[in-house]
Amino acid sequence: MSQSKGRFGVHGGQYIPETLMNAIIELENAYDHYKNDPDFNRELTELLDQYAGRPSRLYYAEKLTKELGGAKIYLKREDLNHTGSHKINNVLGQALLAKKMGKTRLIAETGAGQHGVATATAAALMGMECVVFMGEEDTRRQALNVYRMKLLGSEVVPVKTGTATLKDAVSEAMREWTTRIDDTHYCLGSVMGPHPFPTIVRDFQAVISRESRAQILEKEGRLPDAVIACVGGGSNAIGSFYHYIPDEGVRLIGCEAAGRGIDTFETAATVNTGRLGIFHGMKSYFCQDEYGQIAPVYSISAGLDYPGVGPEHAYLHDIGRAEYVPVTDDEAVNAFEYLSRVEGIIPAIESAHAVAYALKLAPTMDKDKIIIITISGRGDKDCAAIARYRGEDIYE
């Protein structure tokens, strides 16, 4: 009798080649063992605090709040982490786990380059070999991050197949893993792929809401009314939501990349435009045609430019616990510039999608309401691309 594992409602599962099954089972067993191991957790907490700079600040954006004239806005500053994004939370956890499992080599996919940089960083720190797969299109959009990864001692493999973006980088990393399993851990960067990845990555990212919940209780004496985060695969969003899921008074809002709009083909808003399918190891929502061919999605943000969404998000959508709203390139770029100007914080273009929705939502809420926006990463990497979007040709 076969039995499917890692389900979130109908979503999730393990749709992968037989070649990888024992590796996935080995990972699941190792994780089940170490997640409750006090030594492992002590070591991980030490790394997160001393190396990555946690806990990250929950910053009251007073000027932004006043400008918008509505709900009180707090920013969860994942951009202040070492390597400049939330990705380090998951990577330190997985790299430590891989090391305990006796693996000596990490492979990873990357879109914007944030996860690739975080993985390269952890590999450097832990003395592991590292190979990062990145869509060729993204290596051009995010040239600086390519250089950073190389500087950190990693090999960067430009992926030329398909749309040469994040989905192709994932496919290529999966192919590489089937080739070399013994010494290699696939350090997946989002809450996607086959079980146990969506659970492992969620658990490592849940530190965001574990902290923000305690921080807001300390500052305000109550829970927020809304938590807003951007969603590609959905790792910073699930991390931002997780400890609020039982608190039904807290609205959980995921901001998807609508690209040029959800009424166009140039979009990556999976929950809003996709339908149920099976891809990259999981059952979830995917942008696809009527025959199940995966759609070539588009967003200005290389990190959200993915045709699927993590299975737990698909489930939170199904049960109505979280809302998923589309945010266009234009709205995100405006928010990128606005937050920079008003608060002196340059957000990653991914995070700017969450800011953009907050700019619309906050003014509609009373002044005694509270919003937390997760600033998942910092925007230095995006400056050249945004300048180009505005017609300014600058060199990195």
Binding site: S2, Y15, T179
Partner: protein, 259 residues
């Protein structure tokens, strides 16, 4: 039960893989006929998928060419129905779970049954997930072909016990594609399979030369070749049929000579 088992009645089997619609369905028809006339025992027809994660560059290329040419699952079913009028040897589909899922698994199996497709190979559907498709496949008499890999080890018995049609033994780690050498201890894997089932097993992944095919067939019930055939299509395009025919003949001769 399907007619797949009969493919293993003519000595060691030779199983070519062909991507439907690469570069167009007229060519696929000619190539399938050429393979059947030259001793192929079973034909594995690929329904292209946009993101074939188990394939190496050669078969990825075939998938892209076929989709660019406008082939769809519906067009492929119509094509097989026509082909079936004169091509009688067993045929199976090789595709990805999403292609079947999005078509609706029951509708997919029903059309397989109608058009005489005996089995389906889904490389991204491991044992743990097959329940979702196997019940409806069984209802229409379609075999869901199981794959066993060099890393399967303690999973072999479990997979073999529930296997149908034939077992696809993956020769080596990694994705599909021509390899100069196959190092896996296949005789050990095949022995574990035979301890648990009488379903025949054929070896695929990385086989291109008659010598390799003979070696693989010697330790199993047959050899499966994909990338080497796709390379002929890549090279000769619409004129590939006679070259594929000639190649299939040499491979069938090779597997037949295996003891």
């Amino acid at each position: 039960m399907s007619n797949i088992r009969s493919a293993f009645n003519n000595g060691k089997a030779f199983i070519p893989f062909i991507t439907c619609g690469d570069p167009d369905l007229e060519t696929t028809a000619k190539v399938v006929r050429a393979a059947a006339e030259n001793g192929a025992d079973l034909i594995e027809l690929g329904i292209p998928f946009s993101d074939p994660t188990a394939e190496g560059p050669v078969i990825q290329g075939a998938n892209i060419r076929a989709l660019k040419g406008g082939v769809t699952t519906d067009k492929i079913f119509d094509f097989v129905a026509k082909l079936r009028k004169d091509v009688k040897i067993p045929m199976v589909f090789m595709t990805y779970a999403n292609v079947v899922f999005s078509y609706d698994a029951e509708r997919f199996m029903a059309r397989c049954c109608e058009t005489g497709i005996g089995g389906i190979i889904l490389p991204d559907l491991p044992f743990e997930e097959k329940g979702e498709f196997s019940a409806v496949a069984k209802q229409y008499g379609i075999d869901l072909i199981s794959l066993i890999a060099p890393t399967s080890e303690d999973r072999i018995a479990m997979i073999a016990k529930e296997a149908e049609g034939f077992i696809y033994v993956v020769s080596s780690l990694g994705v599909t594609g021509v390899r100069s050498e196959i190092k896996t201890d296949l005789s050990h894997i095949v022995k574990l399979i035979r301890d648990n089932t009488s379903v025949p097993c054929a070896v695929g992944f990385g086989i291109s030369t008659p010598e390799q095919a003979k070696k693989m067939a010697a330790v199993s019930d047959g050899a499966i070749v994909g990338s080497a055939i796709i390379k002929l299509l890549e090279k000769y395009g619409r004129d590939a049929a006679p070259y594929v025919g000639e190649y299939v003949r040499s491979m069938k001769d090779a597997v037949s000579s295996a003891e």
